[in-house]
Symmetry: C2
């Protein structure tokens, strides 16, 4: 395919994407396919000779679309939102066109410098303490990671290295393996599995800290487990606080936890993967209070800030902590500016070496929406979740299971877990809307997350009517079965 | 921006990208900017109100392009190639438009299934042993990672978990920390730093194995260090063989190394990040002989197979080894097919949770180029590197520093390292072409890598003439200075 054909096909693809997104509400949100559906539909090896664009293009509707879960459908209420917007799509096209691999400053200065500056912009939008910003020769700064999992891992590794060095300087008789074997990381029992996974990867122990009735970790809970572990010779080194947990969007109490971590020389990382975007609204910024105690902070604009995946924004107070954990310098990656202190080589901030020009997406979105446009987006989602909450509360058969703070509503039928599992099954088998569940303590709970950029009040209403009707149908047969079981 | 404006702007962006790539040879390959150039050119915070697309678009040429290193310029000979092609760009647009996050089968079945099938296609193109393929209910299979670094890390972690379990079952008195402290990984002294980094992340020791005169690791070199380490109580568990090292594209001797690793219960991972694409040509496939002994294998279609970054293809013989190292199952990620044995949940195969629909790129490229089109691309690059080699060899002032096997030529002026450093400096300061250096043993060497899809014989000729002229100029002043120094 030459440039002339790309001009033609690229424009067709732009129209196809616009068509897809404009009519996505007409598609069934969750596909009908069964595992293994795709293999019989395509050849079992690559073609020897080139196929035409037309041949490939027509397979999109024939082979791909029947197996797509439509994350941007206004009937998609599962997981958390995956951001998507037209400015981000345009920027990603440009990113592909430039096609640089920005692992060092010299590998493409614009790629590195735009990222640093735009992460400062974003940091200011959520009123991050200045220490996290790169400007004014700061010791901190921001970086775009691929995912919150990577941000957590990178911060845990930085904490591990820092702690090993500190302990070795205090107790030179200990080997690195001795210390590693005694390190312990902590996170809420509500934290995302990626925290446990980071500890698994880093080869260190991790313990759950019990959350309270609001599913939040408070200071006394952390203090208790720290005291026990220190008494038994362990070395606490890392605490991952969560703002906006995945099951129910609860918030750990940073203002209590932060001072404890600081006092105990424990790295505090904050994972605000979903909730972080909301902090651009002054009315939600208080949820971030206490960030001043943290060593690193992360949230995902690719969840709720209209920047397509992947764009996970992470800031550290001391960039030297990250770099110290990773820096290796082969000659083929060195360049004459690198020791000037003026440049950032982001390869030392992340797990992979290569990196795309992802800051373009963030830059396009921040400029073309403006702060006010993005605030509107957040506020609309929060309004819609309260609308749904209100509908649930009006129906006595149901209960709300956790305080609705942002765009997630946890709810269930009053009754057994089996009943609620059956309700979710009937919802997802009907495929009119799509939800996923969670456990809150012993309870099986349905999560209703406001996801699509295009979701409106009418979609919420019709989703609720649908759920309510399915509940009515279910309860009828459930009571009959229950009645029959009693009689037998 | 609504869909109507996206249609308009998307088409403008397609033309901009086509223009950029059609005229890239007119741009200076390496930018003139100094560190910190970008910050003064843009606002110091995000705008409150939306800006127009025109405003943003005009900043691409004003702010971004002056700081871009043009990786696809036919005058770019640095690092290794970054792949780019029009079919891949089209597929990436579609990937953005669909915008699913395919961490599990249910999160978008097409995303998972296309990846599995297309990785089988690619595996067959390089004639990988059947055990690495997913088809026919195989125990193996392929996955797209973001980078070779991640593939190495994932395989090292799988090996670590597997070895810890085996040793614990043999010697239940050892704690996990005891075992961790005794694990050792190995790689060539020519291996990429990402291998050392993977060991650093995984918290295990790593040792270099000495390469021979051809910069290859042979069996006896590995055997020697293994015997020493076992004698001193260490537990060798992982060897990363490299096919196509970054400094000089040398090849470790798989046929000698593989049987040793198998016998010693050492996981052999093969990193063929750059060279792997060449194995689609029968005349280069012999370089992969011995892969049958490996546990995992990786190469980067995003380097040399015309698939835009990121697309790093990895295969394992036993998928259960990877999954065993990572599997954590919160309820919100479970789905009713997951225990059927029929589905793949790729989140267990990788470091991040989220993943883009990257197999679309690979699928578009394999179909629209066909195997023959991709073979042509590889062969052209190899032909051009031999053309450059030939030019160097004709000039008695220069020497070739390693056998030219694929698309990389390592060369230098006969003389001191200082002289060659000065030559590289004059080349890169002239900014007509762009190269990076490496060390081969004590020698400072220039790397000339054939990179661009658009590079032709005439570019090679003019690059050589330019280098040759700069060498002439340099040698003149160098001899004068040398003469003066002698006189002083």
């Amino acid at each position: 395919m030459d440039a002339a054909e790309f001009r033609k096909r690229g424009k067709e693809m732009v129209d196809y994407i616009a068509d897809y997104l404009e009519t996505i509400d007409k598609r069934q949100v969750f596909p009908d396919v069964e595992p293994g559906y795709l293999r019989p539909l395509i050849a079992d090896c690559a073609p020897q000779d080139p196929e035409s664009f037309e041949d490939v293009f027509k397979d999109i509707e024939k082979i791909i679309m029947p197996g797509v879960t439509h994350w941007h459908s206004p009937y998609f209420f599962a997981y958390f939102p995956a951001a998507s917007s037209f400015p981000a799509l345009l920027a990603d096209m440009l990113c592909g066109g430039i096609g640089c691999v920005g692992f060092s400053w010299a590998a493409s200065p614009a790629c590195t410098e735009l990222e640093t500056v735009v992460l400062d912009w974003l940091g200011k939008m959520i009123n991050l303490p200045e220490e996290f910003l790169a400007e004014k020769d700061g010791q901190g700064g921001g970086v775009i990671q691929g995912s919150a999992s990577e941000a957590t891992l990178v911060s845990l590794l930085a904490a591990r290295t820092k702690t090993i060095r500190r302990v070795q300087s205090e107790k030179p008789e200990l080997t690195e393996a001795d210390i590693m074997g005694r390190l312990v990381a902590y996170a809420s029992d509500q934290a995302h599995t990626s925290v446990e996974r980071a500890a698994l990867i880093g080869g260190v122990k991790i313990k759950n800290v019990s959350s309270d009735d609001a599913f939040s970790v408070c200071g006394s809970a952390l203090k208790k487990v720290l005291d026990e572990d220190k008494a038994s010779g362990l070395i606490p080194f890392f605490f991952c606080a969560t703002l906006g947990t995945t099951p129910c969007c609860s918030f750990d109490r940073l203002l209590e936890l932060g001072p404890i971590c600081n006092k105990e020389n424990i790295w505090m990382h904050i994972d605000a993967a979903y909730a972080g975007s909301a902090f651009i609204c002054p009315e939600f910024r208080h949820l971030l209070n206490g960030v001043e105690f943290a060593d690193s902070f992360n949230f995902n604009p690719h969840k709720w800030l209209l920047v397509n995946f992947d764009c996970s924004a992470m800031w550290v107070k001391k960039r030297s902590d990250l770099i110290g954990a990773f820096k290796l310098e082969p000659l083929y990656l060195q360049h004459h500016h690198q020791d000037s202190g003026l440049v950032t080589d982001y390869r030392h901030w992340q797990i992979p070496l290569g990196r795309r020009f992802r800051s373009l997406k963030l830059w396009f979105v921040l400029r073309m929406y403006g702060v006010t446009g993005l605030q509107e987006h957040i506020r609309k989602h929060v309004r819609l979740s309260h609308q749904f909450e209100h509908l649930v509360r009006q129906d006595e058969r149901f209960e709300i299971c956790a305080e609705v703070i942002l765009g997630l509503v946890c709810f269930r039928l009053k009754g057994s877990n089996e009943l609620n599992e059956a309700l979710l099954k009937s919802i997802n088998e009907a495929k009119k809307i799509h939800l996923v569940p969670c456990h809150l303590r012993e309870k099986f709970v349905l999560r209703f997350a406001i996801c699509s950029r295009m979701v409106e009040s009418t979609h919420i209403k019709s989703a609720w009517q649908h759920i309510s009707q399915l509940a009515t149908d279910l309860l009828k047969t459930w009571e009959q079965n229950h009645h029959q079981q009693k009689q037998q």
